[in-house]
């Protein structure tokens, strides 16, 4: 128990640091009201000072050397604040580079590919070719961590973003989601991926990152919806006193609970596993699928409770709902993971389904 408590305490310290920075420098109301992006630089600076973007990079590679569990707790907090800077993406990129022992540069990073349908090829001359769509925050990143394949296996590469062609795009929440094209692009570092590491490994890790963020956003949606229902008066009483509203909020709590349980379970599975085995696959794929479903149902209820005011730019609700809905698409759409999980279950056979579920 000693070890367990010590770990839980450290997680709290790292998560508390993140929470404090978000409270001070990423207040949703302030950001939402500000016209420009002047809030971004101080926030990023504070996060970097605290070592959070490179949380998963070992200390000997100039990172913070935090545990996977500590990093996951930062991402839950980032979800609760619907933070619109490439914190999750830089953490993921640092983690990917560390798999191959590549040191992380300072500044924002992102990862490619960010979905199952894109493949980057490592050419014989050590350059990269291919296209990665829906790469989050590529516009804002100085460097890209890339997973590339060649006949001799997978490699991990570090590229300067300026050496790639970029087509800017936006997700539902207006955050950058870009297409990167590599055309015989020369990386600044290149090493083989460790044995057993596949593109699916990167996508599962990304899926759990997004699941934690969605769960955090749902917690925030629940909190602000409950608060609003206790303030808003209609028909001469607080709308929280109407049974129809109460039951909608109870359903939102259920969706937030399901997302939270699925995402924390999957994060715990990765943090306590040596690799990306079948158990991690079940947990991570399930988390992404269930969190995506929760995002849809939960966001709809949060908006319903708020009525027209929640549909305005001025109100903060959209910061959470639109991000949660967008995050469903990254690192494998929920439909992708559902097909993959369904195929695995079918291949194992009917009588092996319960043993698989019960093993977790």
């Amino acid at each position: 128990m000693q070890t367990g408590n010590a770990v839980a305490e450290n997680e709290n310290i790292v998560a508390e640091t993140a929470e404090r920075i978000f409270a001070d420098l990423a207040d949703a109301q302030t950001i939402n009201a500000s016209k420009g992006e002047s809030w971004k630089a101080p926030l990023w600076h504070a996060l970097s000072e605290a070592g959070l973007p490179l949380a998963w990079v070992p200390e000997d590679c100039d990172g913070a050397g935090a545990s996977l569990a500590e990093g996951f707790s930062v991402l839950s907090a980032a979800g609760r604040s619907a933070v619109a800077v490439p914190l999750a993406e830089t953490m993921l990129a640092g983690w990917l580079l560390a798999q191959a022992g590549i040191a992380s540069p300072t500044g924002a990073m992102t990862v490619a590919p960010a979905g199952p349908r894109d493949r980057i090829t490592l050419n014989a001359d050590g350059t990269l070719s291919g296209r990665a769509r829906g790469v989050p925050f590529a516009q804002a990143a100085g460097h890209i961590a890339v997973l590339a394949s060649s006949v001799s296996g997978l490699s991990i590469a570090l590229l300067q973003r300026s050496t790639c062609r970029i087509e800017a795009g936006r997700n539902l929440a207006d955050d950058a989601s870009d297409t990167l094209t590599f055309n015989n692009t020369k990386p600044i570092a290149l090493k083989p991926a460790p044995d057993g590491f596949e593109q699916t490994s990167l996508l599962l890790m990304g899926a759990v990152v997004r699941s934690l963020q969605i769960a955090g956003a749902l917690e925030a949606m629940l909190e602000i919806s409950v608060r609003y229902s206790n303030e808003r008066i209609a028909f001469e009483k607080k709308i929280s006193k109407f049974q129809a509203v109460q039951h909608n909020l109870a359903k939102l709590a259920g969706e937030a609970a399901a997302a939270l349980a699925a995402a924390s379970s999957a994060a715990d599975a990765i943090a306590n596993s040596a690799g990306f085995d079948e158990a991690v696959f079940l947990e991570a794929a399930s988390a992404k699928i269930r969190c995506a479903e929760a995002a849809e149902k939960g966001a709809a209820i949060a908006h319903q409770v708020h009525g027209a005011i929640g549909f305005t730019q001025e109100h903060i609700l959209h910061r959470y709902t639109l991000r949660a809905l967008s995050w469903r698409d990254d690192f494998g759409h929920d439909s992708h993971w559902a097909v993959e999980l369904g195929r695995l279950v079918a291949e194992r056979g009917a009588d092996e389904l319960w043993p698989l579920v019960a093993s977790r």
Binding site: E219, L222, E223, V226, R227, S229, N230, S240, K241, Q243, V245, Q246, H247, L249, A250, K251, A253, G254, A256, A257, A258, L260, A261, A262, S264, S265, A267, D268, A269, L282, E283, A285, S286, A287, I289, R290, E293, D334, S335, W337, A338, V339, E340, L341, G342, R343, V345, A346, E347, G349, A350, D351, L353, W354, V357, A358, R360
Partner: protein, 386 residues
């Protein structure tokens, strides 16, 4: 946070996996011996007294209770494993399930010592069946509207009135029921009900079975006419049953039986689609498995929190709410996917038979033991809305 929901990622300890193997081996033996057919959830003979005794012999009843009363002082998580394995196998647990989950813990907490010594060891041996007398013809979800009267007499109480929808009353040895001992008060409409232990062999009890839409007779009307209950059968505080109701519900609400009631149709669908399903079949199964896995992780988390002495009332209500809605919808989702299954698949008839039964029982799943509406009211209170 207004509502700090907690679902810690609790894992079952290694001892549970040893136990799980034992339970699976036992169930395999019972299936081989013809005690029950795991593919046939619809059974007239689900009261299986011999099976019940054999489960007791294995030490799987009263698992968490003190040894002094025949219990085994094992953890809630170990009990969880036994419950889920029995449920998934469609084992005939009716005779002991209510006593083991609910009635035993109530007796442990509120019954006088000599009654505990008499009844609890018999529950642990799988010998006695319990029913729960809550609903009345004009009092269902509104528990505190109960009118069936317990009138004080020499050495006990006389009961007059009736209970309804009482599952297993026709085979039960005992009932734990609430009766009215005083009128409710203006200040507290929940006041005036008392919890009693009723010996079903007492004179003046008539059990009338009620046919369900499945064709089965699982629940009953129970009519009491001057039925005598001795003073020592009062459980807890006179007029204070309302204080005793809430804590036991966390156990009742969040167990694996709250999302596995129709699980068999999912297994059978996987069998029917075969090893290489098309994208639609695979996606449908994948989503259902993800939902099932998530439900179970939530339910295990609540069991783990109960084990360390927390009372996660809101979390438990959430598990029952989304668990029962899920198991209710499951046969309909499976039906949609089964439309594309090869009609010559070897288990097609079994799947159709199971779907027909699951769709018939589906409506009760969000009603029994606390309706969806009642649960959402409890969750809303936990969120600070009422």
């Amino acid at each position: 946070m207004t509502a700090a929901l907690r679902f810690d990622p609790i894992r079952l300890p290694p001892a549970c996996e040893v136990l799980r193997k034992e339970v699976r081996a036992f169930l395999a033996e019972e299936i081989a011996a013809g005690t029950f057919d795991p593919h046939k959830p619809q059974r007239e003979d689900s009261d299986a007294p011999e099976f019940s005794r054999r489960v007791g012999e294995r030490g799987w009843l009263g698992m968490t209770w003190p040894k002094k009363y025949g219990g085994h002082e094992r953890s809630f998580l170990e009990r969880y494993v036994v419950t889920e394995e029995m449920r998934v196998a469609n084992a005939p647990t009716r005779r002991f399930f209510v006593a083991d989950r609910q009635s035993g813990p109530v007796l442990l907490k509120y019954a006088p010592e000599h009654i505990k010594m008499n009844i609890l060891p018999r529950i642990c041996r799988g010998e006695v069946c319990f029913s729960i007398g809550m609903s009345e013809p004009n009092s269902g979800s509104d528990l505190f509207a109960a009118k069936t009267k317990a009138t004080k007499t020499d050495g006990g109480f006389l009961i007059n009135g009736s209970k309804i929808w009482t599952t297993s009353a026709h085979i039960a040895d005992y009932m734990i029921a609430i009766f009215r001992t005083s009128p409710s008060t203006k200040e507290n409409r929940r006041h005036g009900l008392t919890q009693f232990l009723v010996d079903m062999k007492a004179p003046g009890i008539k059990v009338n079975p009620i046919a369900q839409i499945t064709g089965l007779y699982e629940f009953n009307e129970v009519v009491f006419t001057d039925t005598f209950i001795p003073d020592d059968h009062v459980l807890g505080e006179i007029d204070g049953a309302w204080k005793q109701a809430t804590s036991e519900l966390a156990y009742e609400r969040s167990g694996p039986e709250r999302f596995l009631e129709t699980y068999y149709v999912l297994t059978e669908l996987v069998r029917a689609v075969g090893p290489k399903p098309d994208a639609r079949g695979a996606e449908g199964i994948g989503r259902l498995v993800a939902q099932l896995h998530t439900m179970r992780r939530m339910s295990v988390s609540v069991a783990g929190m109960l084990q360390i002495g927390r009372e996660p009332v809101v979390e438990a209500s959430i598990v029952k709410d989304i668990g029962t809605v899920w198991e209710q919808q499951l046969p309909h989702r499976v039906r949609e996917l089964a439309a594309f299954v090869d009609p010559d698949a070897s288990n097609h008839a079994t799947l159709n038979e199971q779907l027909a039964f699951a769709m018939k029982i589906a409506p009760k799943l969000t009603i029994q033991g606390g309706t969806t509406e009642v649960l959402r009211g409890i969750i809303a209170r936990g969120l600070g809305l009422r």
